[in-house]
Amino acid sequence: MTTVHTLRIDGADVAASDGQSILAVATENGIDIPTMCHLDGLSDTASCRLCLVEVAGSNKLTPACTTLVTEGMDITTTSEQLTEYRRTITEMLFLERNHICAICVANNHCELQDLAEKLQIDHFELPVINPSVGIDASHPLFAIDHNRCIMCQRCVRVCAEIEGAFTWGVMGSGIAERVVTDMGTPWGESPTCTSCGKCVQVCPTGALFENGRSIAEGSKAQRPFLPFLKRLGEGLEQT
């Protein structure tokens, strides 16, 4: 039998079952906490820190996606300080690479843009870096533009946990951190990639996209997962 806890979120009493995360309970109760690395169905890494919330009695902030509820918890999901942190994190996600929305395959279908809009970010206070980062377009169906990658690692997790291919990994650290295919092998030469397209589907930004998608089409992928396999099997041209 599941144990039921009662707790408070933003002053309202809510019920939760044992083993639920703060994020899950908040979502169930219609309370919106910004997230980026979290995706329903994948494990959580708590790497983006957007979902940080305050828990009464603790002097540090807690990621809602990985913190399980406990009896009597008193949680604050929105405060001036939290909003300020979230805005700064969002700015850093933009400024760590090169985001030029106007010419991006994900323009207007991008979770990073959504986040900026939600937090009403109309300019960046932090200085720009404009690092020189590459694109790998060696795969016949997909490409990765590291300029748009925010290191949420959803691609890494979906590839390992759902597809079971373990193609994606992470190399380097800090500002030099990159997602890579097969320890740095060009994607097109990957012996493990099954061309399922799941990474493209879960990527929140324009970093992963289907080859041949243009900005004017306004979406970086169109087909559901399986047709990729079918097309590959039939040896069809990618267009």
């Binding site: 090169n98 985001h99 030029i100 929305c101 106007a102 010419i103 991006c104 323009n107 207007n108 843009q113 900026a116 809009e117 009403q120 109309d122 300019h123 960046f124 200085p127 720009v128 404009n130 690092p131 020189s132 980062v133």
Partner: protein, 176 residues
């Protein structure tokens, strides 16, 4: 009562933001009722006036000419508005930043040129090391993101500004 004065300037941008300004269509008459447009690429005035109340700045600060203009305009302007993504984030002009000025000029004027390759030294203003958002160079008071900002956003923001209110840019978005 005298009307507030309005100017627009064009730095490193594609003029798309000014096109969107023109897309206000018949609402331009309304803007002209509320403000005197005293300087703009859209009107025939040569010098930026001594004092202007509001100025929309299109484009990033990319060249020595842009820099000279924006310093001059900032000095003479009450409320400076970063108008569009190029002004707000450096946007498309910033695509050259990771490449560096010299390799960029070499590629554009020498490597890909068959007739008289050579980097122009006169008339064309010298590029700065980086294309930068306007607020990294001078103080900016209001930001209107979008590539270009929609005519509706421009109109509503101008009406608010000219009436002395802070514009509500809710729903504005980079790229849109």
């Amino acid at each position: 009562m005298t009307k507030p004065t309005l100017a627009t300037i064009w730095l490193d941008g594609c003029s798309g933001c000014h096109m969107s300004f023109l897309d206000m269509d018949e609402r331009l008459f309304d803007i002209a009722e509320r403000a005197d447009i005293v300087y703009s690429p859209l009107i025939d005035v040569k010098a930026y006036p001594e004092h202007v109340d509001f100025c929309l700045v299109e484009g990033a600060v990319s060249s020595e000419d842009d820099l000279r203009k924006i310093l001059h305009v900032r000095q003479r302007t009450g409320t400076l508005i970063s108008f569009g993504d190029c002004a707000v984030t450096a946007n498309v002009p910033a695509m050259r930043n990771p490449i560096g000025v010299q390799p960029l000029l070499d590629r554009a004027y020498i490597e890909n040129v068959t007739i008289n390759p050579g980097i122009p030294v006169s008339v064309v203003p010298k590029l700065l090391a980086m294309a930068r958002p306007v607020h990294r160079v001078v103080k900016v008071d209001v930001y209107l993101p979008g590539c270009p900002p929609s005519a509706d956003l421009i109109y509503q923001s101008l009406v608010d500004l000219l009436a002395g209110r802070t514009p509500d840019t809710h729903g504005a978005r980079f790229g849109r």
